[in-house]
Amino acid sequence: MSFQTVMNTISLWTLPVIIILILTVGLIKKVPVYEAFTQGAKDGFKVSVNIIPYLVAIIVAISMLKASGAIEMAGAVLAPVLNYFHIPIDTIPIMIVRSLSGSAALGIFSDIAHTLGPDAYATKLAAIMLGSSETTFYVLAVYFGAVGITKLRYALVVGILADIIGIVAAVSVCHWLFA
């Protein structure tokens, strides 16, 4: 059995195993599982609706930023810097967009992967950048929005700093392993 088959089997089984585990422990502990489930599930609608204002604020603002061409401009400014460090320019959009929009970052990655092909250094670097980080702005909007918190204190700064550290780490590790 190859490593890849093992990985696939694991990812296929994690979810079912967790669900069976929770239900079984519930039954053993004499929890009325059906009633408890529906009781908890009732909040699903409320929570989803509660986050709409926060989602609209952040998604509209980021859509506007993307449409304005600001990201391409930032890329053009960054290009000489990245060139100096031998970082492929194709990965610039991923670095900028990753924290802002998950679907956009995925789209850009697909694009890089398809145009440059599997052997390109940029494909590997982009893959590592994408796989090692989260859509910081989205997570902040949804998590804080769900409980109605508007003053984030240092949460955003930490998120962005960690993203920058992640980019530097990705470039270094990729250079060390694949260059």
């Binding site: 239900l23 699903g44 796989g131 997570v139």
Partner: protein, 205 residues
């Protein structure tokens, strides 16, 4: 957040005007607003499912059990939360879901963790230290196997897509640990939200 929101929108309009893309920017307001509602509504079902499952886990004592096991770690990371708080268990569940790449489960459980932390929060509109720590952990996006990325790599005929796993894991671990350390440092220097408990030395981490 007020400045960022203002900055994002004003900059977009100005740069859009400079680039002659002002109509695109205006159109993106509509498409962005539509997308937000789509995202929220597409969450309802899966949110309901995982909140239901989590209710069972909570009633069976599984969440408290998990919180108890993680006490040595959570005591340091979330020192202002009551140590028997179910929030710790929820945080652990959300983190595991993220680490296993179960994004659909991670968001509802993460929101539940936020709700539990909000109960212990003294100022309901301002983020507590625990919330900032939890968000630092979540936005760092720690994931053991980047399943989506690997799927795309397989799609383009990448010969050995699993070679990406180890470097990704190294990078995500570095980012994750940095996020925790930075959050810990800021916790000490950022203007406190309310009178915080006297903290034990967080630098041990």
């Amino acid at each position: 957040m007020n400045y960022i929101f203002y900055f994002l929108i004003v900059i977009s309009i100005i740069i859009g005007a400079v680039n002659g893309k002002l109509s695109d920017v205006v159109n993106s307001i509509l498409s962005g607003a539509e997308l937000s509602v789509k995202v929220a509504f597409s969450l309802i079902g899966i949110m309901a499912f995982w909140l239901g499952i989590m209710k069972i886990a909570e009633k069976s004592g599984l969440v408290t059990f998990l919180a108890k096991i993680l006490k040595p770690i959570s005591k340091r990371l979330f020192n202002e939360l009551p140590q028997d708080s179910p929030a710790i268990g929820d945080v652990a569940m959300s983190f595991s879901a993220n680490a296993l790449g179960l994004a659909n489960a991670a968001t509802p459980i993460g929101i539940k963790a936020m709700e539990e932390m909000q109960k212990a929060n003294t100022d309901k509109t301002t983020a507590s230290n625990s919330m900032c720590m939890f968000l630092a952990m979540s936005t760092a996006g720690f994931q053991i196997v980047p399943t989506t990325v690997i799927a795309i790599l397989i799609g383009i005929g990448y010969k050995n897509p699993t070679e990406i796993i180890a470097p990704t894991l190294i990078v995500t671990t570095i980012a994750f640990i940095s996020a925790i350390i930075i959050a810990k440092i800021f916790q000490h220097f950022w203007s406190p939200q309310t009178q915080n408990n006297t903290e034990e030395n967080g630098g041990a981490l």
